[in-house]
Symmetry: C2
């Protein structure tokens, strides 16, 4: 558990939420396992689980605690909250159909990367998670693409907060490497990963921005590294860049029609 600075956080709530993280990490856990994982008394864990269950966040099936369907519900709400997410979804499915690789759209939040659309089976598999949280910015091409657009201070805040732990042997682990990499990303207009997040996987990502320059997130393509030769590589990069254009045009159009409607009303 690499929890930052716990000043001012409510310990009770934090303990409950940590249990959720543990259940995710263990992909379902019995009470004994949770007692083991948290170093709390059995009765305490029980109270937390009861509370979480009361609100639908965990369920107990066959002596195993699992995350509840309420997360689907809340997740869907979050996904449809921002109007441009719909554009992202359309772009991802276009990109996915055009490309031979897997497409997804990811955003940065609190210094971590969450994949919103795409092959969720892979992108959100607990196998690749660290302490129940989504990916780090420095190990994913989405993350690199996004923070390459951020001011240096904000990048430093993020690595201050989460550190630069390695996901594979090829991961970036020092500030110098990271900032050098971000310069490269800015120069070539997209980010690239060769096994830095997942062994044997190759991926590219490109940040998409609003007309005012705010970063929405990153469009990505990923797949097994062995299929990538110089030619397919160039094709995929071109596809990705076309997808980014589609997205930004889609968002611009969205805002135009919204402005029109506002003027009419």
């Amino acid at each position: 558990m690499n929890r930052h600075d716990p000043s001012g956080v409510l310990k009770t709530t934090a303990a409950s939420l940590a249990l959720v993280d543990h259940i995710l990490e263990l992909e379902g856990a019995t009470m004994g396992e949770l007692v083991e994982a948290t170093d709390l008394a059995k009765s305490t864990v029980h109270a937390h689980l009861k509370t979480l269950a009361e609100y639908g966040y965990v369920v107990n099936i066959d002596n195993e605690y699992q995350l509840g369907a309420k997360f689907c519900h809340l997740g869907d709400y979050v996904r449809t909250r921002k109007d441009y997410y719909r554009v992202a979804q359309e772009t991802v499915s276009w990109l996915d159909s055009e490309s031979s690789m897997d497409a997804d759209f990811a955003v940065e939040e609190h210094g971590r990367i969450v994949s919103l659309y795409g092959d969720l089976e892979f992108a959100n598999s607990p196998r690749f998670l660290i302490d129940g949280s989504p990916f780090h910015v420095h190990t994913t091409c989405s993350g690199k693409a996004i923070i390459a657009e951020y001011p240096e201070t904000r990048v430093r805040e993020i690595i201050d907060r989460w550190g630069l732990p390695a996901a594979t042997d090829d991961s970036i682990t020092t500030e110098e490497e990271l900032f050098a990499e971000l310069a490269t990303v800015r120069e070539q207009g997209y980010a690239e990963n060769s096994g830095e997040a997942v062994e044997g996987f190759w991926a590219i990502g490109k940040a998409v921005k609003s007309p005012r320059g705010e970063v929405y997130g990153s469009l990505n393509l990923s797949g097994p590294a062995y299929v990538i030769d110089e030619e397919t590589r160039a094709t995929q990069v071109e596809l990705l860049e076309r997808a980014a254009e589609r997205f930004e045009q889609g968002v611009a159009e969205l805002y135009r029609t919204q402005a029109d409607e506002a003027n009419e009303g």
Copy 2:
């Protein structure tokens, strides 16, 4: 807030989770609004929000607190957890393409109905929610289809817990009505809703079960009521029944291949 029996639940965690529900209900809220909604001190709300933010459950953008992308992440995990969910997803997209109406798959958890696959825009819209929770079993056709398969004691537990609040003027509100309706559902093999969940909407749902008779959830079709005449109605019911068969065959096949793999290994 219709929270059952709060014996043994941790008040601090409960307060934090209630805040999440409030943010969902208000579709994003400022601290002032949350203080208003919860009757807690500003400093207290602040502490809760800080804790939730620390774990990625809420974010603050432009003086407004919103649910975090972590819910997408956790939601995706829950969705892909059960192996038969993939079958459900395939069935829903088949049903959706065959039918002129909207298809979805819903499950019951803790006495409430959550839609897992389908047009999430509609099914999970906060407009139709009560105290931040998913639908009630007695107002949705999914709910009726599912609990029609349950023993009476379990049905009574659920209505004991959540009551029978009306969603529209046509909602079921008494135990007698409900049990009579469930008998009808069992008789005709599917459940039907005419504006009982959402004004002006018509829907049908059919429970799908494992070979051993456990209820997985319910496949549903829904749409505006005015397009439904006797003929389309019959077609939709037939489609739904074919979809249920497809699902149950799909699951049976899944378990067969799993058993084969286990025997080989």
